[in-house]
């Protein structure tokens, strides 16, 4: 075999392996999503959304409490996390632009994004759950908001930095104070980007389980009292999937289906907005 032939064969094998790797990645996606879809759709019915759980072992019942609880916790986390994140990002991109402190906070926020979420759960347990004396919904919402803040903060910073500096100068030249420039010019220019960041951060926290395990815990009854333990879909999935009953498993699949579709739709919407707006 000549040298050219060996080089060509080596190249062919390497590129073939890369193609197989891409197919393998696609295979896992189809396998996991397909599995969730097939099992989920089979177990999906209206009763799931309107009934509360029955005692273990009794057929029927639904997950109304978990759906409502999940919504409640996620909405509260968003209400806490989004304002703090957006304002924090504003400071980094505007008032502290180019300063060392902005750089430091930005790097720390990037690290916070990937810090194990279960550690945040233990932290909230120590500062909220134990002083209060029992698990409660607010603790879960705060835990999720701590995960959310760095995500929103970093996207806000990036999006505000994309707004051309000359636009601010034009507003300054009209005599506007900086806060007016930010709220009426810069925010408008970056609104789509910030909104996308918020959508993606909601997608990120909506599937979190670990930080809820010892904060909002779980509740087999319907409750909208955020001062008491609140059921969430994710913790319910964990409990039901690990449990011994077949109808628990079915309901866990159905809940997984709903939450997966919700998160994937949010993610896709976010991606589409980015594509449509920034390309």
């Amino acid at each position: 075999m000549t040298r050219e032939q060996t080089r060509k064969i080596e190249g062919f094998i390497a590129l073939l392996l890369s193609t197989l790797a891409a197919l393998l990645g696609l295979f896992w996606l189809v396998f996991i999503l397909g599995d969730v879809l097939v099992h989920g759709i089979k177990a999906l019915n209206l009763g799931l959304f309107v009934n509360d759980p029955t005692p273990p072992g009794v057929e029927g019942g639904g997950l109304r409490n978990a759906f409502v609880g999940q919504l409640l916790i996620t909405v509260c986390a968003t209400l806490i996390g989004v304002p703090v994140g957006v304002l924090g990002g504003t400071f980094l991109a505007e008032y502290a632009r180019g300063r060392k402190i902005a750089r430091l906070i930005s790097i720390l926020a990037d690290i916070m994004v990937s810090v194990p979420s279960i550690v945040i759960g233990t932290f909230i347990y120590a500062i909220i759950v134990r002083p209060v004396g029992h698990f409660n919904g607010w603790a879960g919402a705060v835990a999720l908001s701590i995960i959310m803040i760095p995500v929103v903060l970093r996207t806000t910073e990036d999006m505000l930095s994309l707004v051309p500096w000359t636009l601010r100068e034009a507003a300054f030249a009209l005599g506007a104070p900086y806060y007016k420039v930010i709220t009426q010019v810069v925010y408008r220019g970056a609104a789509t980007g910030i909104l996308t960041g918020i959508l993606l951060s909601i997608a990120r926290v909506a599937g979190e389980t670990a930080p809820l395990l010892f904060t909002s815990f779980n509740n087999s009854f319907f409750s909208v009292d955020m001062n008491q333990p609140v059921a969430s879909l994710t913790v319910t999935i964990f409990q039901y999937a690990m449990g011994p009953y077949d109808n628990w498993h079915e309901q866990a699949w159905a809940a997984s289906f709903v939450i997966t579709i919700f998160i994937l739709l949010l993610t896709l919407t976010g991606r589409l907005i980015i594509k449509w707006r920034y390309k």
Binding site: L17, A22, L24, V86, S114, Y178, L213, L264
Partner: protein, 313 residues
């Protein structure tokens, strides 16, 4: 910027409010560290640092706790998952940047992002109900047949394949971290200047030689940063492994044995810890995990920043 901030009182207030919001990040990190140290201080006083880290005891009844089995499980599953994920992730990056026709690049990028967006609890449940039976019925007996007779390697494959074990957990973890490594590698590959690649092609290099000798050396800092970032993610992953690892506090050599990671121990035992030393030891574990992943992530960030600086020059 600061000039206008002084003039207008509303502006002064707004700047202070935004500053306070951004400082929450620093406050959270400091508060997490402080609370974890504070809560684990009874366990630190009782077991010390080295003794805790090196002890394999985990016995709530005798109140004797050590972290080694958990650290071992965490490090082992993370290492195995990286071993499986890195080649696939880099292969995906090579495919997307060099091989795939341009109409496929977008959809594959979306597919990778969707894989990253699926919540970890879904991975965990899929692992328990779908992957684990496949592993115990087909793949693990097959591996056992091939490898268990061999010297040295055989140690990894003895025991009864149950599907709830280190191998299954590592595979799920590897599927979870493929998207992170792949997307960062792809972005780094994409930053290789076309001129450099074209010069290599002009010298008669094949596509693979361009990837191997030009693209990968050029982007290695970024790719390495991506790998370390995935490592940091894998260390702290909880729900994907909680279903299929078994929470077994023993140091085992076989991939077919159940084990425990720090995260799995926390998820299973934290809400049930019934005495102070037990709970304090769990906080101690959380502290160890926090420090481990924080350092890993900081290293990743360091390399990613270095790569960024290199490309922007």
């Amino acid at each position: 910027m600061a000039r206008t901030a002084k003039k207008n009182p509303v502006d002064a207030i707004f700047s202070v409010v935004t500053a306070a919001a951004s400082f929450t990040v620093i406050i959270f990190i400091a508060a997490i560290l402080y609370e974890l140290v504070h809560e684990s201080s009874p366990a630190i006083a009782r077991f010390g640092i080295w003794k805790f880290l090196s002890s394999t005891d985990w016995n709530p009844v005798t109140e004797s706790f050590g972290a080694l089995t958990n650290i071992y499980g965490t490090v082992l599953t993370t290492f195995l998952s990286l071993l499986m994920a890195i080649p696939v992730a880099i292969g995906i990056a090579v495919f997307v940047t060099e091989i795939s026709p341009s109409f496929l690049k977008g959809p594959i990028g979306v597919a990778i992002e969707l894989l990253a967006a699926i919540p970890s609890i879904i991975y965990g449940m899929w692992g328990l109900f779908t992957l684990s039976p496949i592993m115990s019925k087909y793949i693990e007996p097959f591996l056992k047949k091939i490898f268990s007779g061999l010297p040295v390697v055989g140690i990894l494959f003895h025991g009864t394949p149950m599907g709830i074990d280190i191998l299954t957990a590592s595979i799920i973890l590897s599927i979870m971290i493929i998207p992170f490594t792949a997307s960062i590698s792809r972005d780094s590959f994409n930053l290789t200047p076309a001129v450099v690649k074209e010069s290599a092609y002009a010298l008669g290099a094949t596509k693979w030689e361009v990837v191997k000798n030009v693209v990968i050396p050029y982007s290695k800092v970024g790719v390495f940063g991506g790998i370390v970032l995935s490592l940091g993610r894998a260390l702290g992953e909880t729900m994907a492994v909680a279903f299929v690892l078994g929470n077994n506090h023993r140091i085992t050599t076989s991939l077919f044995d159940a084990a425990a990671t720090i995260t799995v121990t926390l998820a299973n035992e934290f809400a049930e810890a019934d005495n102070d030393v037990y709970l304090s030891s769990l906080f101690y574990l959380a502290l160890v995990l926090f420090v481990m992943s924080f350092i890993t992530l900081a290293v990743a960030k360091f390399f990613l920043l270095r790569a960024e600086r290199k490309y922007s020059r």
